[in-house]
């Protein structure tokens, strides 16, 4: 342990590692994966994947959810053992039986979900597992750890206070702590698994700046994402995965359409074509809605808005600003602390979820596996999950299995759900088809208001297209639609009116023609206007509707 930390220290003092030198484990490691195959039962998650990461490069792995990106990186990080193939470091075969081996070989990983101890300080988190002790007293050497963190933080412009409690830090900073953790362990190859999923546009910009500095310092970065624009903005090389296999390698100058087509396997339409909205009367009326959790923390703070028939109101905002709580309160899953919710003039403020469903609210929950579906239930049962006790599916307490089955058959056809049969467990379906099951259930019944939270999260491009078209269709039928999404592209694609949510409040209503920079500013609380000068051509902040059509 002690010796190991000496090495860390040593590296910290020599300044930025130079390219071309090769000391011990090597600063500039050329990483190569050859013919990696990983099977889960009959399923081939990785099929003879070849990948070479040059030193000091940002190598993007682009692919839809389930394309095998994470599996591949888990193999590289020693969490999974490949069935075939080998990992080469500087041309020498390496076998990683656990993350420990991978870390020792200079590979660091920042997981999608951070592995931090919330009640520890930054410095404590960074040294967790490689704690350094003072060799005279045998006690933890906190001072040195703090210094190391500060040095690294300064060198890469991370701006981390080593003494801050992790739980008090914003998500973007927590991510940097994870990066420092990897750097302290001498990572020369850093894997970032969907790093921007939880970040604001501004934080994404900061992350990209850090990645560029790491790159200049000789660290290779493997950047996993399914977002085309980000990949184009940061990567030196883009490797596209589809269905577990490498389908192509492109430079970042490749067009968005080309990348999308590679990723999906056919040409996709990235925009939803829709006509101008013809809004009618306000159907859903929310006045001063306040929602607090058990601990008294206020998540939704006096929100007021209306959704009119035949319009889509898009609620934009960075995740964790109360959007989840807003939707849950609208559906009666969370008590309302104050305010009023009415549907067509009927007060629903204290109604149960069942009463709200009956009153004409349809709900597409944010987390479809946790809240929307019962994985082991059949597709048919999931399609009546919130209507099982109404005619024609039930008479008295008797279930009418025939009616449920025929209803399921109808919806499977209408919504083009790809399943072996309506009796198959819904958990065996792909994410896109699972979402179709939920949509079929919610849209297939009589409703006046549709509340959809992150309706396309984790879906492939083709399914996103399908879901978006269905939602616009609902609007055109006169349904009042409320969309909550953290994806600006989605908000732009769907919304007729945009409400931006920040810390439980609406910071502004805007028309869909508003520039992304302005939305980004509102999403960050509306006060950081100057700090957010967009870096031209890079990142999601540049995702204006115009550029979304492809270059």
């Amino acid at each position: 342990m002690w010796q190991r930390c000496r090495i860390v220290l040593h590296r910290c003092h020599i300044g930025a590692p130079n390219r071309g030198t090769s000391r011990g484990l090597g600063v500039d490691v050329e990483l190569e994966l050859r013919g990696i195959t990983k099977r889960f039962g009959p399923l081939v998650a990785n099929d003879r994947i070849n990948l070479a990461v040059a030193p000091g490069q940002v190598h993007a792995l682009l692919g839809e959810n389930g394309a095998g990106k994470t599996t591949l990186m888990n193999v590289l990080y020693g969490l999974l053992q490949p069935d075939e193939g080998e990992i080469l470091l500087d041309g020498k075969a390496a076998a990683f039986h656990s993350p420990k081996d991978a870390i020792a070989a200079g590979i660091g990983m920042v997981h999608q979900h951070f592995m931090l101890v919330p009640v520890f300080s930054v410095a404590e988190n960074v040294t967790l597992g490689i704690e350094e002790t003072n060799h005279r007293t045998g006690l933890l050497d906190r001072r040195k750890t703090r210094r190391d963190v500060r040095d690294l933080s300064r060198r890469y412009g991370l701006e981390i206070d080593p003494d801050a409690m992790v739980e008090n830090l914003p998500v973007g900073i927590q991510q940097r702590v994870e990066i420092v953790k990897a750097l302290v362990r001498e990572a020369t190859v850093l894997i970032l698994d969907e790093p921007t999923a939880v970040l604001t546009p501004a934080e994404t910009e900061d992350l990209f700046r850090i990645i560029r500095q790491l790159k200049d310092g000789g660290t290779s970065v493997v950047f996993i994402s399914h977002k085309l624009k980000e990949v184009q903005a940061i990567a030196d090389t883009i490797t596209v995965l589809r269905r577990g296999a490498v389908v192509g390698e492109r430079p970042p100058s490749a067009t968005e359409d080309e990348l999308a087509a590679l990723m999906v396997g056919r040409n996709v339409q990235l925009r939803v074509s829709k006509e101008a909205a013809k809004p009618g009367e306000a159907v859903l009326d929310v006045t001063d809605l306040t929602v607090a959790d058990e601990t008294g923390r206020v998540w939704v703070d006096g929100m007021s808005f209306q959704v009119r028939a035949g319009e889509i109101l898009g609620v934009a905002g960075v995740q964790g600003n109360g959007q989840t709580e807003l939707c849950e309160a609208l559906m009666g899953l969370r008590p309302t602390a104050a305010g009023q919710v009415t549907l067509d003039g009927r007060d629903l403020t204290h109604a149960t979820p069942a009463q709200r469903l009956r009153a004409g609210l349809a709900y597409v929950p944010e987390d479809r596996q946790e809240d929307g579906l019962i994985g082991s239930f059949s597709v048919a049962n999931n399609m009546v999950l919130d209507q099982y006790n109404r005619p024609p599916f039930a008479s008295g307490i008797n279930l009418n299995l025939g009616a449920i089955a025929s209803r399921a058959a109808e919806l499977v056809t209408e919504f083009d759900v790809r399943t072996t049969s309506a009796a198959a467990p819904v958990g065996t379906l792909s994410g896109g088809n699972q979402q179709k099951v939920i949509l079929a259930r919610e849209l297939g019944q009589e409703h006046k208001v549709l509340v959809a939270s992150q309706p396309t999260r984790g879906l492939d491009v083709g399914s996103i297209e399908f879901v978006h078209r269905r939602i616009v269709e609902q609007r055109d039928r006169g349904v009042a639609v409320l969309i909550v999404s953290a994806e600006l592209d989605e908000i732009y694609a769907l919304a007729d009116r945009i409400a931006v949510m920040y810390e439980g409040k609406i910071t502004g209503f805007r028309p869909p023609t508003v520039p992304a920079e302005e939305l980004g500013r509102l999403m960050a609380g509306g006060s950081e206007a100057s700090a957010l000068a967009p870096d031209p051509g890079a990142g999601t902040t540049a995702a204006t509707p115009a550029s979304g059509a492809g270059t």
């Binding site: 999974l80 389908v247 056919r266 899953l333 979820p353 069942a354 809240d371 919130d386 790809r418 958990g427």
Partner: protein, 473 residues
């Protein structure tokens, strides 16, 4: 895949490769996304979690729940049968190596090896033969039957009944096990683990016994009142547990275990005073016998103990099946058991269902008491509850939490219980051997990975694999 990775230095060359002619083109439906959805359906979407249901459970309910689920929902039939085989082998070995005669023969193994092996074999098998004869069919009874002069005398003197006595005993023993097993299996389907069969049994027993000796009613009505009373008594205890969980979030496992103690001591208290339930003129903790009007009717004459309780058990199993699979109530139970948060989002009242399912389960355990008190014992003492509530857990486990499975598991354990006395009488094998068999069966069922590895079945390591993945993903 139709194209391979092009070399990085010629990135623009294979433009055509960007739009491949995959199977999607061939199967393309009228709408473009149809083809894509096909791809999506068969794509390795769940590559990261090929066994998604257990994976979800891990997130939802923790490790204990996961293990329980994999026990209840593993590959049922093969594992169950093999577990039985394994239990018989282990039981036979224990028997062969614990019997003193056999042990003595092992001592002379080198002088007479054949003798020791033969003796070990005959001891092990002999015990099982007696177990079989005591629980299912005894050939001696048939030969005795054929020695009778006429059918009339055979019927009258009980020789015919003797042939069916083992089966009758099996059913009698199985009856409370099935009912109590249902009381564990039903809440399990709603995601609750009912350890409180004992307390609910006692609750039912107290009410049934009191109604049995304390009041006078016409014959048929008296039976029905007692049976319904036992259901109410057990249901009250179950309702209390469900209510506590629904209102305060108290974990049902803790509460039911505590209730077991509370009810056992409450019963002891009732049986300690003559002005409560202790029989007049006795110092023993026992009640007066219930009125013969309150006895459950025998099904096949006075020589066989099999009674209407068995029919109640079968009817309840059918009822539970109907409730679970054919009603909106069961739909809610199962939804809540599989994914309470999705159930809540779908408008189901999770708390109310907890109360309801515990109430019904308590009632079923109470009925188990009714079949013991009104069917075989006719009095209540401080040991009447035996270990029914605990055995019920193993029965439900073996029956995989399904009503039909519980019936078969109950019959199996009933047979073991019924055959044990004859086995001990005839071969000297202690009745405890039956508990060893039960324990091994349950151990084997509870350890499917073990079973799979012993018999080299595929797909082993379910639980551990999932746990490991849950950590990794």
């Amino acid at each position: 895949m139709s194209e391979q990775t092009p070399p990085p230095d010629s990135p623009h060359e294979p433009e055509a490769a960007a739009v491949p002619e995959g199977p999607s083109e061939v199967s393309g439906g009228p709408e473009p996304e149809a083809a894509l959805a096909e791809v999506a359906a068969s794509s390795p979407e769940d590559a990261e979690q090929p066994e998604s249901p257990p994976g979800e459970q891990l997130a939802a309910g923790g490790r204990a729940r996961l293990v329980l689920n994999s026990i209840m929902e593993g590959r049922p039939f093969t594992v169950t049968v093999l577990a039985l085989v394994a239990a018989l082998v282990v039981g036979g070995l224990i028997n062969a190596f614990s019997n003193t005669t056999v042990l003595h023969a092992w001592g002379n193994f080198f002088s007479a090896p054949g003798h020791a092996l033969a003796l070990a074999w005959s001891t092990a098998v002999g015990a099982y033969v007696e177990l079989f004869e005591g629980s299912i069919f005894n050939p001696h009874t048939v030969s005795a039957l054929f020695q009778q002069a006429s059918i009339g005398t055979a019927l009258h003197d009980g020789y015919v009944s003797a042939v069916f006595n083992p089966l009758s005993e099996t059913c009698v023993q199985a009856t409370p096990l099935i009912l109590a097993g249902l009381a564990v299996a039903l809440p399990y389907q709603a995601g609750l683990f009912n350890i409180g069969g004992q307390s609910q049994f006692i609750g039912g027993a107290i009410v049934a016994t009191y109604l049995g000796y304390g009041i006078n009613l016409p014959p048929v009505i008296h039976v029905i009142v007692c049976v319904l009373g036992s259901f109410a008594g057990g249901a009250a205890i179950g309702w209390f547990v469900g209510e506590l969980k629904a209102r305060t979030g108290a974990h049902e496992v803790i509460v039911t275990i505590m209730m077991n103690y509370i009810m056992a001591y409450f019963l002891a208290y009732l049986l300690a005073y003559h002005y409560l339930m202790q029989a007049p003129g006795t110092v023993n903790p026992i009640t007066s016998p219930i009125a013969s009007d309150a006895h459950l009717p025998l099904l096949f004459g006075t020589h066989l103990r099999i009674n209407a309780g068995f029919l109640i058990a079968l009817a309840c199993a059918a009822g539970v099946w109907w409730l679970l699979d054919r009603t909106t109530i069961g739909f809610e139970f199962r939804s809540i058991g599989k994914n309470p948060s999705a159930a809540r989002v779908a408008g189901m009242n999770v708390e109310r269902n907890w109360v309801l399912v515990m109430l019904i389960a308590g009632g079923l355990a109470g009925l188990a008491a009714s079949t013991v008190i009104q069917g075989t014992d006719f009095t209540l003492n401080d040991q009447s509850f035996g270990t029914y509530g605990i055995d019920a857990i193993t029965v439900a486990l073996l029956g995989r939490g399904r009503p039909v499975g519980v019936v078969w598991a109950g019959l199996l354990f009933g047979a073991l219980h019924a055959g044990a006395p004859l086995m001990q009488a005839a071969t000297g094998t202690p009745v405890d051997m039956v508990q060893v068999l039960e324990a091994v069966v349950v151990l084997m069922i509870a350890a499917p990975p073990l079973i799979r590895s012993i018999f080299r079945l595929r797909g082993g390591g379910g639980v551990l694999q999932v746990l490991a993945r849950g950590w990794g993903a």
